[in-house]
């Protein structure tokens, strides 16, 4: 008898609550975020999370989108694909978000895309791997520059510097593999020959063996493709082995953390990076300069740390999504269509022009080449 009452009570309550929550949902646009806030990739996820929160606050303070307030639901993937998958399931089924920003890394993004595709939820990833948007999936976008563009920027600079033979050293995870494929695939186009191709484990304590092997092969330069902390170990080892040819790094280490980890050994390293690292050095005619300064001021006023390019990926993702939400009335299909039709958005990362064939929308000039000198960045 008691049980029947209980069931009845529950039914009545749920009937009372349901219309209310339905009405609430109409007022608020719920958007999800998955970032590697902690863990080895926290240098990516932490500024991304902070940026997303800050942007949502700004948009709400300005009256929201078409009168709808934004609500951000953010989960920490800890850089772990399994945790990213459980976060994406929570966002889709429990929080019922209309779009998702993130995850921060290529492995976590590749792990979640199948779930967002199936649920027809637009995803704007903040990771670099080219596999995320090739082949193009209607529901998957990304704001980080592809390694395709990063490799093109590095090779352009090498060609100008007269470098012909290179040795490459890539980390043995999705980021490194993706970079390796691009490095090998594009070399010929720039008249560059990859004479040796080695790899290192993300947790390796020593890479002198690989570097010695590359050194012995006698290339004009070495390219190391990985994210912290591996490349810092490579930079240290290269210095210890007295390798005097230029060491190029990938855009994955473009943050002050790299200089902190590698210390002295970071000096002389050359890498492609988003313009945000060198905003003050940019030419005034650069349309991105103002966007970057605005973002930088807002971020640094709100949080204690320095701004990084990674936060910029989230900055662009939120702005692009906000643009697409306009006039969508929260319909996922419309949000997707609006995103794909976005043209000429000048963001922190570069100028975005999405097309049905290109869901990254950037060109190689989204990168500038920088050299680390005396523990700071200089424009090349």
């Amino acid at each position: 008898m008691k049980q029947k009452h209980l069931v009845l009570a529950m039914l009545v309550t749920s009937l009372l609550i349901l219309p209310v929550s339905g009405a609430m949902a109409a007022n608020v646009y719920k958007i999800g975020g998955i970032f590697s806030v902690t863990g080895r990739a926290s240098f990516l996820g932490d500024p991304e999370k902070k940026t997303m929160e800050m942007m949502v606050e700004q948009i709400n303070a300005a009256g929201g989108i078409d009168g709808h307030m934004l609500e951000a639901v953010i989960y920490d993937s800890e850089g772990d694909p399994a945790k990213a998958v459980s976060a994406v399931n929570k966002l889709i089924h429990k929080d019922k978000v209309i779009a998702i920003i993130g995850p921060s890394t290529t492995p976590t993004t590749l792990a979640v895309v199948n779930f967002t595709k199936r649920a027809n939820v637009p995803l704007i990833s903040c990771a670099a791997g080219i596999k995320i948007t090739t082949p193009v999936d209607p529901w998957v976008f990304k704001t980080a520059q592809s390694d395709l563009l990063a490799v093109a920027a590095v090779y352009q600079q090498m060609k100008a510097a007269g470098i012909k033979k290179i040795g490459i050293l890539t980390v043995s995870n999705a980021y490194g593999e993706s970079g390796k494929k691009q490095l090998l695939g594009q070399a010929e186009k720039f008249g560059i020959q990859v004479i040796l191709n080695e790899s290192f484990g993300a947790k390796d304590t020593d890479t002198t063996t690989q570097l010695a092997k590359i050194k012995a092969a006698g290339p004009d330069a070495i390219i190391c493709w990985g994210t912290n902390p591996g490349p810092a170990v490579v930079a240290k080892n290269a210095k210890q082995l007295k390798i005097d040819i230029p060491l190029y790094q990938s855009h994955g280490v473009g943050s002050p953390k790299f200089i902190e980890l590698a210390g002295d050994a970071a000096n002389g390293n050359i890498l492609p990076t988003g313009k945000i690292l060198v905003t003050s050095l940019l030419d005034d005619s650069d349309p991105q300069k103002k966007v970057l300064q605005d973002y930088q001021n807002a971020y640094e006023n709100k949080f204690s740390g320095n701004v990084s390019g990674f936060g910029g990926y989230a900055y662009d993702a939120v702005n692009l999504l906000a643009g697409a939400l306009k006039g969508s009335s929260g319909d996922k299909q419309k949000i997707r269509d609006n995103l794909e039709a976005t043209k000429g958005y000048v963001g922190a990362t570069g100028e975005f022009n999405f097309t049905p064939q290109d869901h990254n929308g950037l060109s190689p000039d989204a990168f500038v080449m920088v050299k680390i000198k005396n523990g700071t960045w200089t424009l090349l």
């Binding site: 926290s42 043995s172 063996t209 092997k213 912290n228 210890q240």
Partner: protein, 291 residues
């Protein structure tokens, strides 16, 4: 030629680290018949304690080292007192599972204390590497190999020359007989735990400057150390030492001469071969005699 020497140097450096870890594991196994899967975590504690004491607080190097080893030893003793000794049914398999649990626990605690970001530490002595046959030898490698030798030599002397050491060997050979002749076998077990954890911390201290230290660095190192101890023959001190060096050199040569992508695979296939040919390990010729 120049590269081969370089591969050898790299191999000896990583190998010496594995050796120190393996010696600690092996030492504990010989006195308590316990394989401590939390051993890698003591390596991590050593490295991170060093980060705090030397880099952050700025204590002089020897003091910081002593502090980090003491922290490792103390933690080892606490581990024995609170996790191992309280086990109601001390069968080897139960105890081994307890060590696995302790490993997860220690990793979690370290994550809370030090956070998830990796730390970098400067080398102990000047940064210039020494050139031998055109190959660069890092000063830190010399530190590591010296530390490994001193540690293994010290433990060897302790077991052979001191009364306590001999008592420990006696316990290892036959616990009951040792007890009957008046040796406090329980105390010997505790001592073994302390020394073993200290060895782990030493490995962490010396490895920290050449790599980045973080809360999750210990697990892989612990497994490598375990493999090294297996090659040498579990329980044999110098066997563990040689096993560590061999594993390091195999890895480095495999990476250098064949492919760096297959580095771990090559090393482990060779390990399997060694264990297939000599199941007891390279140096465990006589089953009954462990020392």
């Amino acid at each position: 030629m120049q590269e081969i020497v370089q591969y050898l140097f790299s191999g000896i450096t990583t190998g010496a680290v594995y050796a120190v870890i393996a010696v600690g594991l092996s030492m504990l196994y010989s006195s308590t018949e316990l394989i401590n899967f939390a051993h890698g975590e003591f390596v991590m504690i050593g490295a991170l304690a060093m980060v705090t004491l030397w880099v952050r607080i700025g204590l002089p190097l020897p003091v910081a080292m002593a502090g980090a080893v003491a922290a490792g030893c103390l933690l080892g003793l606490m581990f024995e007192r609170f996790a191992i000794r309280t086990a109601r049914n001390p069968e080897p398999i139960t105890l081994i599972i307890i060590t696995v649990g302790a490993s997860i626990f220690l990793k979690g605690v370290a994550m809370i204390i030090w956070g998830k970001d990796p730390f970098s530490m400067p080398a102990f002595s000047s940064h210039e590497s020494i050139e031998i046959f055109g190959a660069a030898l890092l000063p830190q490698s010399i530190w590591i190999v010296t530390a490994a030798l001193v540690l293994a030599g010290g433990i060897h002397l302790f077991l052979k020359q001191t009364l306590t050491g001999k008592a420990m060997v006696a316990c290892a050979v036959n616990k009951k007989a040792a007890w009957l002749s008046g040796i406090p076998s329980e105390k010997m077990g505790i001592l073994a735990f302390g020394i073993s954890a200290g060895c782990g911390a030493v490995a962490g201290i010396f490895i920290a400057p050449i790599t980045m230290s973080s809360y999750d660095m210990g697990t892989l190192l612990g497994i490598k150390g375990f493999c090294a101890a297996m090659i040498g023959g579990l329980g044999s001190l110098w066997g563990a030492f040689a096993g560590g060096l061999l594993l390091g050199i195999l890895e480095s040569m495999g990476a250098g001469l064949i492919s760096s992508g297959l580095k771990d695979a090559i090393a482990f296939v060779l390990l399997l071969l060694i264990l297939y040919i000599r199941p007891g390990g390279l140096f465990a010729a006589k089953e009954a005699k462990r020392f």
